[in-house]
Symmetry: C2
Subunit: 328 residues, 2 copies
């Protein structure tokens, strides 16, 4: 993903070293949790959030030492929420590997996530970002918790588009927004520009989740690292389903049938496949691509308002690369 952005890739390589440092101390005491954490970290995440923090800092005056510590803190926060997410989503695979939850059980998954959160806090404490950005990061994690619990309690029920949007804003977009805003702040941009960078991140994050919903409907495990239809199987109603059901009562009825079997038990594979077929017939994919296109354009519009710098070019490339082939 970063081959077209060599300057960013060089920073991300340095970032990897700083991140791994967190799991090298006190090895005798924490070996088990350190090993698990390193396994997860090295299992091939794309480092999108740290890349955005770095690129946003390059909108202004880039100071590596200040930026990388914050980028590490953000990636560890994100990784922690993934480990806990996999419990909620009952996920067997992530990035084509068994999740901590699937491999080691719920107890270890809970404490590995907590451990990563603590490591994130330690990385943050080692920087001296101002209180206001520390609060913003904490609020982003708060948003993730709230978004996840909302989604969990809403499973099996069709949300309105508005509810869906507010849920993914919390669950996914808040941390992207914080990543960009913090980067822009560290680059010495004005408060107004920091806010604009945050809005770019927020729209990027919404688009990112919409693409994730599309992938759940479209792709096989090989491409996404997760089994197709896993969201639906867990009763999580994704955007293609919402948009397909919009004017097709058959889809709504089918959805109810699938979802009624969720909640304790799982939806059957046959039900999920039937539902996916109906969503496709009702143009759920195409409609989702149209919405995705809109949010990618919105993100681009905020990007236009930021200073014309190498950082902005990087963010533009990230935006284009992330969604190419998925927009309408």
């Amino acid at each position: 993903m970063w081959d077209n952005l060599p300057a960013l890739k060089a920073e991300l390589d340095a970032f990897e070293q700083v991140m791994l440092e967190q799991f090298r101390s006190h090895r005798n005491i924490n070996a088990y949790l350190d090993d698990l954490s390193r396994d997860i970290i090295l299992s091939g995440g794309k480092r999108l959030r740290p890349a955005m923090t770095i690129a946003s800092a390059m909108l202004g005056q880039y100071e590596r030492d200040k930026v990388l510590g914050s980028a590490v803190s953000i990636e560890l926060l994100h990784t922690a929420t993934l480990v806990h997410d996999d419990i909620i989503d009952n996920s067997p695979l992530r990035r084509n590997k068994p999740t901590v939850y699937a491999r080691e059980g719920v107890v270890t998954a809970v404490f590995t996530g907590d451990y990563l959160l603590v490591k994130s806090l330690l990385a943050l404490a080692a920087t001296d970002i101002p209180q206001e950005h520390m609060v913003r990061l904490a609020q982003a994690v708060e948003a993730v918790c709230v978004g996840e619990v909302e989604q969990y309690h809403g499973r099996g029920r069709m949300p309105s588009f508005k509810t869906y949007l507010s849920r993914i804003s919390r669950k996914t977009a808040a941390l992207f927004a914080a990543s960009c805003a913090l980067g822009a702040h560290l680059g010495g941009l004005t408060d107004e520009q920091v806010k604009t960078a945050g809005r770019f991140g927020s729209y990027y994050g919404i688009a990112f989740q919409i693409k994730d919903d599309l992938l759940d409907m479209l792709e096989s495990t090989a491409k996404t690292g997760k089994p197709a239809g896993n969201d639906l199987k867990e009763g999580v109603v994704t955007l293609p389903v919402i948009l397909a059901a919009g004017d097709d009562p058959r889809v709504l009825a089918k959805l109810d049938a699938v979802m009624s079997s969720v909640g304790g038990k799982k939806a059957s594979k046959r039900d999920v496949l039937a539902l996916m077929k109906m969503v496709k017939e009702a143009q759920g994919i195409e409609r989702t691509q149209e919405v995705l296109t809109k949010y990618v354009a919105l993100a681009g519009r905020f990007l236009d308002k930021l200073p014309d710098t190498p950082g902005r070019d990087m963010l533009r490339t990230i935006l284009d690369t992330s969604f190419s082939g998925y927009t309408a």
Copy 2:
């Protein structure tokens, strides 16, 4: 517990208000998690850790505004780890009420714990404690994670006393130590005195966990708020068992029998009762009381080194009250 300490009680009342403030904002968005958090917080914890932070600050110059925010952060950290602990311990009850885990399931317990951790971080960000104490608190939570995972992986196996001690130092004592050290720092004590306060807290915490182990062996639900024998049922080997098994091969054999049924399945109630009987016959209770007495005395010795102030008197009263009736 605080009736003999009216000055401390007044501060703890103010502390309650500050803590509840954390769960009043954005009520529309976070109502569910706020309500759950408030339920847990109001379910009757003794506020030992915040009391120690406050009393330790009273070893020097007490400034309420600085101290209460940190005390709130510590209590919320502790509460977060309890919520996640109840998952690991499979606990039906805490403080005589169903745990979040038992009532709402594992998913909600995971995210309620995370939410409390975030709220703790937000409370901390609102104070301006120095980086060094922020790191110490994060390390205390790190220690809790490591201690819990060690205990989980060690279940069903007899640890040495040394292993037991290092485990409870992390699982329980680290946060008491941080509570006292942070308080002493906020009271303006010297680095040496801050360290001494931390060691008092650490020995207090070890004694606290040993008493908890005794209670699991001795008391009914009515008194502890938790079912008796719950630790044993989950394969957690407590100190009375370790000390009883020390020179009684029958106890060791019985322990193996009970523990072999743990790990996925649970030990039967009959096995647990038989084990408890044997531990009592092998003087496990009395031996544990002797060890407890030793650690209470050690805590007292560090207390003696601290400045002779109302804060020290309070800490003395807390120490005496906590263990009266349980020492040898």
